[in-house]
Symmetry: none
Subunit: 189 residues, 4 copies
DNA sequence: TGTTAATCGAGACGGTACGTCTTGTCTTTCG
DNA sequence: CGAAAGACAAGACGTACCGTCTCGATTAACA
């Protein structure tokens, strides 16, 4: 019932290989076969841990997310939101952006996987924005009653850009989007 | 130099097969191989017309788009926007939604293709919203100076939903989103 | 140095599982993996006892052989030979036939194993025929000087049939073969 | 309906690769994967031609068989049989021997394949012996009525040796076996 | 009225990845 | 130490697509 425990070095090798591949070649260059080859691990060892490459990427991204900074809390809605967006967009310009794109591609091919991504990754990010909005509302800075839609205004454009124009995610765009979202938030419909 | 002209029936058969496949099985079930087999056409005949499945889907969607209604123009920003979003979201609940998801999946795998999708499909939709905003601005209903960001507020959440939660695109959501966008539009940052 | 003694129940379970598998699915269905799974024993427990599936089968067959009848001795060459062949062929129509086929398949893949099969199984059977021939020669019924070739005439066709046409091994064939071998034996070349 | 014709160079490459592999490494070293790799051919190209490695080997051996000498016809039973057996045994000491062993191994794993081997290869060899026997009977040199059993006496020991002791197939053994078979043939049971 | 050239279907071709299966070894915990 | 459990590297299995190619057979427009 116990058996030989999984070798953590294998876990690391798999994650590292997946990360390397996506960094060097993008989503197209990632395959279960390639991950195994690159990591010097057997295919079985990979399939034992993950049902598909989507879950590998999800796990790699989760590792990234674990080392993320806390939600900004400056006492000002605009400053909080801008800080969050700048940081988030900056990440999208790097490896996490490629990982997110890969995640999106996988999600499009399997609704069940989309569900997992939502619950394990997306929601955490939404929570951060929700905190910011809640605190601002307590300070009377938010009039719009529907947090969920406001959060969609924040992340929708980001994914939209990841799909069709990743270069768009600059600091300037973070500022412009922040302004627009705040305009929506501070006014009741 | 002239040679045998292309058979229009083959064009139709290809588009129809692609449409059938995506309707029945989603993006995963679509392959150049499958399209050829389903349509009773040779693979070469498909590749002669399209460089990849992305372009097939793009073409099928373009055929849909050609039969689309004109941009609403009621004289009221909210009504215009709501009508547009309801109509658009309704489409996403049907076959065009699946086609859009497929398009997104392809775009994620080839930046060059993402570019094509942008210029040939996305921009047309953005133009519609831009018209609505421009007319409203002329009537003094829009204070926000940056149309492009406002348009992102409209379509970003839609693609976001197509990625992770297609069921979200209801009439109610169209209304909520309309309200939020208008809140942003009517207020200068 | 002594440690825990091996559990004889494990030995039995392994042999039984191997026997079951070969009975139900033939040689193709036998694997070390399968034997372990079927017997509810760890793979290690199997490998500790046998270097490969060939030896498992050899052991199972040896268990069968232990319960075999003695060499016939009726005082007549033809009767002795016929009795032996009928009994032997009858066995080949059953589970021992499948085991022999498996043994042959293993032998073909490892000459060293072929050697073991020869010395541990084949030779015992050859001895039986050799006894019959020796007794007959003492009675003046055998003129052919080379027992080994005569024995080959007996068993060669049997293995030949096991390879390509196991259904051939009927009582009628035992009789026909007996006649031919006796014809060869009673005449000096 | 016609399609691109199969490239004969591919056929040759496959057969050559299979031959090389079996020559260098024996039956164990042959795999569909290896044949494809070695021949520089895609796996599909192999599977398109053969359902399994057994059929590849069968085909290679058939190519050998096509270039075989005609059945000896010296007017004397002993000379004919000896010539045939010496030639046949000599072949078993070389590559065809390895091919035959491989064939046997495959036949043991699939009765359907055993059937094919019988009809496409074995029977041709039996025919040769049958011709020799028939001619000898016409000359009054054969008294035994059952050709099929006599043929089994010829080939049985050969396959028996291929299974468990390939080194046995010397010229001396060919002579000894010839003598024994003739002893059986010239005497009615 | 023939060429000529691009089409059509069919299907072979080299590749790559898929996900599963065995093999034989190794590593853990428990008895 | 034996036993069950199960991880591990290695590599074959047979299938599916990819995008390209080579056929023989059409189907026009041009000569």
């Amino acid at each position: 019932m116990t058996g030989r425990p999984r070798d953590p070095a294998v876990d690391d090798a798999i994650r590292q290989a997946a990360l390397d591949l996506i960094t060097e070649q993008g989503y197209r260059g990632v395959s279960m076969e390639g991950i195994a080859a690159r990591s010097g691990v057997s295919k079985q060892a990979v399939y034992r841990r993950y049902p598909g490459k989507g879950e590998v990427i999800l796990d790699v991204l989760a590792a990234y997310a674990r080392t993320r900074l806390p939600t900004p809390d400056t006492g000002d809605l605009r400053e909080d939101l801008l800080a969050l967006l700048e940081e988030t967009f900056a990440a999208q310009r790097g490896v996490p952006g490629a990982l997110n794109q890969a995640l999106a591609a996988e999600a499009l091919q399997a609704p069940a996987f989309a569900e997992r991504v939502s619950s394990e990754l997306i929601n955490a990010r939404r929570d951060a924005v929700r905190q910011i909005l809640t605190r601002a509302r307590d300070r009377g800075q938010v009039a719009h009653p529907d947090d969920e839609v406001l959060i969609d205004l924040v992340f929708g454009p980001m994914w939209y850009a990841l799909l069709f124009d990743a270069g768009k995610l600059t600091d300037a765009y973070a500022a412009a989007l922040t302004d627009a979202v705040i305009a929506a938030a501070t006014r009741a419909p």
